[in-house]
Symmetry: C2
Subunit: 241 residues, 2 copies
Amino acid sequence: MTHIDKTSRIPLYLQLMDILINKMENEMGENEQLPSEREICQQYDLSRTTVRQAINELEKDGYIYKVHGKGTFVSPKKVNQELVKFYSFTEEMKKLGKVPISKVLSFDVLEADRKTSNKLLVADGSKVYCFSRLRIADDIPMMLETSFVPYDLFPGITKEDLEHTALYELFRNRFQTEITMAEELFMPVLTNMKEAKLLKMPPSLPSLRIERLTHGVDRVIEYTNTIARGDKFKYHVRLEN
Amino acid sequence: MTHIDKTSRIPLYLQLMDILINKMENEMGENEQLPSEREICQQYDLSRTTVRQAINELEKDGYIYKVHGKGTFVSPKKVNQELVKFYSFTEEMKKLGKVPISKVLSFDVLEADRKTSNKLLVADGSKVYCFSRLRIADDIPMMLETSFVPYDLFPGITKEDLEHTALYELFRNRFQTEITMAEELFMPVLTNMKEAKLLKMPPSLPSLRIERLTHGVDRVIEYTNTIARGDKFKYHVRLEN
């Protein structure tokens, strides 16, 4: 559809959304500014209410974003993460030609509390690493991760290691530990103020919480809670019958 | 952990969360009321700030929910949807011993707009069914779905059909059309007022938008946009290395 059909049974705002999506996908670039509401009203001979409804839906669907006092802009495309086989943030970002870095926000060796020991299948009170990392791609904060890793399997990891080496590379190269599989649990969440600030996003934007359990040959080797920015990622899965 | 250790490096609110989660999972039932903040402060000798932080985090993580003027309650467990093979709402709810029903909110035969025809891989303007269904399990609204289905493959489906028969049963039994696979795309969203009202949830609760493309032998047979309540579902995937 390239023009509004006022005789159609399809609501006008849906028709307008269709036209604008088409324009953004074929003629406009990421972060390019959209015409103002007033201009869109005039161009398509539509009411302010209709245009506003279309714009609001496009914003909610993540196609566009608003900057207060500046206008409305085309959202950058989301990273499409395939949920087929085991993936790592570092590898996925490199594949997309982005430069991934990890900022280690905290790094501790603790005694596992009940929740953590239940997840890692270690004894209550076992020594575990607990670290938080901000995952950044091309200077944009993408994910916030809090990980728990059994100390006995990987002794002597330092904060500096994590800053310079991908975790799974450390597992593989320094400790000869291969990953066999991972389980992930996906839940939508709102970030709290602290998370939102670190991720440089408004706290009202919905995001995904991903709980990952990574398995080695005979042990759980990692339990990670990730907040993945909802405006940066979409997750794709293929379900065979 | 069953008591607060004030000498531990683990923040007090995290310790309290751990204790409360353990209590809820082992000693309390769904929708059971938690003690008041004041009572929790006294029981564990903690400050109001610490207790409030733990309660807020538990609410954000979906373990508990608040009812204005009444108190705080244990959330019902989320449905754990395995993303392994093709699934249907009707079948999944039956497996859990719940009674699934579908309320058909709208039912139309339309000409496909560009977005829909792109998804269904049909010509622009082809006849398609467009219907919205509220999916309910044991009287609780769980999902809101808007589906597009090519008319030519499945002529003569009525609103009443959809109210009494699962869509995939219709495809299989009346039209001898087998599903080969489906693709799903997961994105976190906030529901709008209308969606929230239909789903009987606060609009500020994050939910999942799931875009499904269902494939038959040689055609796309369904394109559905689902809003799945974030407080009712979690999605589990297993990733082999």
